[in-house]
Point group: C2
């Protein structure tokens, strides 16, 4: 009998209490974040995590040490509801021109880079953890650790770089973050499937090949969904009757691309990202004027709420007293584990950012190429050190069963992940803003004349700092780079021609080759 | 161990399949709805229900008769996630001037009307059900049936009336729907709490008093949350930095008002409705220009998606084979039950719309008063016959435990509710559009001169059709109405003065008394 249920007393739905508290704290975070916008020393997401920690402490005290969280970290919530709008908005708002100009570099960092970082962290933990007396992880768990700690936190990184101020750097760091997140998840997945006893030299190549297949099919799915949305909007001309229907269709189709990708065992992140790019390139132009203003803000607002939600969530999870009680290892060992992980994260990222930047500089050419100076490399390395919600979600997936674990080793890995995420987000988040301000202003002063040179002549020197000392090497590199880059530029030229002649008339968008937002 | 979980294979989260199918069908419904907008014979929500039915049949066939739904009807989903945005948007978009001018009439219809309808349906079922051999319901279940079938479906009703064409009628039917929905839920709740053996003459008054207390406290909470949002936006001037933050704060505060109301055992519907009114009156004016465009569309888009979702849901639930198998009563009895319920719904609504309209006409006065002609009364009666998601949710709450029931009588009540909702929405939804078009055009032609007369002189005849025949009665009525109405107009005058002098400078909004949207 349902007599026990009193409907309008929805407080009996157990989640209403959590939702109320969470919404209230979320509102508070938004206000605080606004107040902090002009602050030099922190960003609003660091503040949100801090507020999350405080709420966690308050709840811990109110519940007399029993529980510190009102919502348990839930992978489903994160991967199915919060991540898609963030990634879609990223694709929708990204400056496409710069993104595709840096495409090769982005793929180098995002795919190859993660593999390098993964290798260093896996090998490092496997070698160092037993030395400080922390044992109990299996081989494939060490491998999974590598994947968990190789994923850069796109969301937080973007907070410290402004697209308007440093468009090239932004598109690089941002693009890397998207590919990087996808790679980490794919890698994590692949690791759980491979047979740990059969790991050999070929495994890395198999993983890389798997990744490339997955990435390209996922991208194609996203492009297909984006194009069909654009075609539908253009054919039926929705704006005639209703703006809402237009916006609703774009939102639902974007979400559909993500869930279908997950359903087909593809990776939803590149799918929804490229769906966003295609939608902003074609579908957006088919909408009415008010829809255009609305979509731009609706997607970024939803994304903003999801981001704030995630950081609050992570902050609240810090004082998860149950997991801390469960760890059962000493303060020294805890410190050791966290220190090793942090150093490996630093090293793992350094090991690919600097070499791959130099490689990218060597093969880069064209009228609007980006020379990644050492200062830029440093910022890319630094800004990408932050670990975020993806790491947490992967760690929870590996080491817990629906957010609960009874194994001390596993509990330690969870708390360590939270510590690393918290430390990198807070500490690095706080110092990145002044660092970027300082380096970028200097770098722009140094770089400005070079950009103008390279615009005048596509075959001028490609390396900026080492220019005078390496002139012999330079000549060889230059020939190589022209050889390597020219097909990409030809592709881009033909793409624009094809786009104007065939794609835009069918799917929408300005038919003049002028504007690329 | 979590080895079994493969993360990026989120298909293992069981809901991904349902979400994918549902999103895809939702997109399809939006496109179909757009195509049908200019159709004379149907509205898009009837089409959505129809598509839902078709999907249900397809799923039924694919699952070989086992199951017809991909998502079980979930009260929590409905009351916590889908209903708040719809009601908030209703408050945000409503023409406040007309709404408050008709406030007395709306409250008459929404509160007293539901009580009359509730009484007729409860008494009717209690008297007629045993006569056709359908027994097994307890006294308070008969009472609950009255509440379940007294709630008008606001969402669908609004589809057939256009705010631009018939603003007075729209604000009446719409306002009634909101108050009506709240009353039904409150009533339903109150019934489950009262002792069935103690029902007497006083019960109705206790219920009415409970309702009035609840309604006024809920309204005050909504107004308070709306005002604090407006004050925050005005004080901090969010638009300076970010449109997203502004919009996000408005969305979250609105939602907060709803969940807090539910948490405090108040009724969330009037809370979030008045929160919407206050936000559009004050907070909206504090936002930047792009935020204003965005909020207007963001709320209506989310509301639109939620509405479509609900209708699709209801449509899919029709062929819930488990419940149909469970009913165990003959075709004749099923038909009898549904017929009785439908007739009682018709009668229950007629019993309050016509008398209360006449009462409202008698006490109505002022320069912009609305005379509810017989044709208008007929449309109000007809348009409000539709039963919708609120009825379904209440029925599921009463007769099932988390969507499942093993009692044949309860299963019958669930299927009957679905049949009534489907029948009223489809049949009445189809015929309302031509009916309204025909009657409104005639009514407007008849009504136009009267409105102009009443604008010239507030004390001219108040009753429109019976004017010449009832002149003696009229004079008495006129004196009465001036006596009754003049305080309301004085209140309105002082409110505008107070609003301009104290409220708007603090909470925002244009300080000239000119524009009321």
């Amino acid at each position: 009998m349902a007599v026990d249920f009193f409907l309008s007393n929805v407080a009996e739905y157990p989640r209403v209490v959590s939702i109320s508290i969470f919404t209230a704290v979320l509102c508070f975070c938004i206000v605080i974040g606004h107040v902090l916008v002009n602050s030099r020393w922190t960003n609003e997401f660091a503040a949100t995590i801090f507020i999350g920690c405080l709420s966690g402490i308050v709840i811990l005290l109110l519940s007399r040490g029993k529980s510190s969280h009102i919502l348990r970290f839930d992978e489903e919530l994160f991967f199915i509801y919060l991540l898609p709008p963030i990634i879609f908005n990223a694709g929708f708002q990204v400056k496409k021109k710069q993104f595709f100009h840096n495409f090769v570099t982005i793929m180098l960092f995002g795919a190859i880079g993660v593999f390098i970082s993964f290798f260093i962290i896996s090998a490092g933990t496997w070698w160092l953890f037993p030395k400080i007396g922390f044992e109990g992880l299996t081989t494939w768990q060490y491998l999974a650790l590598g994947a968990i700690f190789s994923s850069t936190d796109t969301v937080c990184t973007l907070q410290v770089l402004r697209q308007e101020e440093t468009p090239h750097l932004y598109s690089l760091v941002f693009g890397e973050g998207v590919v990087n997140g996808a790679t980490s998840i794919v890698l994590f997945n692949a690791i759980q499937k491979i047979n740990a006893s059969k790991i050999g030299g070929g495994t890395a190549f198999i993983l890389l090949w798997d990744f490339l297949c997955l990435f390209s099919t996922s991208t194609m799915l996203g492009v297909a969904v984006g194009l069909s949305t654009a075609y539908t909007l253009k054919t039926f001309y929705f704006g005639r009757h209703s703006t809402d229907r237009e916006v609703a269709l774009m939102m639902l189709m974007a979400y559909l691309s993500y869930v279908v990708a997950e359903l087909l065992n593809l990776s939803g992140i590149p799918t929804v990202f490229f769906c966003g790019i295609v939608m902003s390139h074609y579908a957006w132009h088919n909408a009415t004027e008010s829809s255009r203003v609305t979509t731009r803000h609706i997607f970024s607002t939803i994304s903003f709420i999801a981001e704030t939600f995630i950081f609050l969530y992570v902050g609240m999870d810090v004082f998860d007293i149950e997991k801390w009680k469960m760890t059962k290892i000493g303060v020294k060992a805890t410190f050791g584990v966290n220190f090793i992980l942090f150093i490996l994260v630093l090293l793992g990222r350094a090991a690919f950012v600097f070499p791959l930047s130099i490689l990218s500089n060597k093969i880069s050419s064209g009228p609007e190429r980006l020379i990644i100076t050492f200062k830029h490399q440093f910022i890319i390395w630094w800004a990408g050190l932050m670990r975020g919600a993806v790491s947490i979600a992967l760690a929870f997936n590996l080491f817990t069963v629906s957010g609960v674990t009874w194994d001390p080793v596993h509990a330690t890995m969870i708390t360590s992940t939270i510590v690393i995420v918290l430390f990198t987000t807070l500490a690095i988040g706080i110092f990145t803003k002044p660092l970027v301000n300082k380096l970028i202003h200097q770098a722009q002063r140094n770089n400005q004349p070079q950009t103008s040179i390279s615009k005048e002549d596509p075959t001028t020197p490609l390396l900026s700092i080492e220019e005078s000392t390496e002139s012999n090497l330079l000549k060889a590199t230059r020939s190589l780079s022209i050889l390597l880059e020219s097909p990409i530029h030809t592709i881009h030229f033909y793409w624009r021609k094809f786009d104007n002649a065939y794609m835009r008339p069918v799917f929408g968008g300005p038919t003049s080759s002028g504007g690329d937002r």
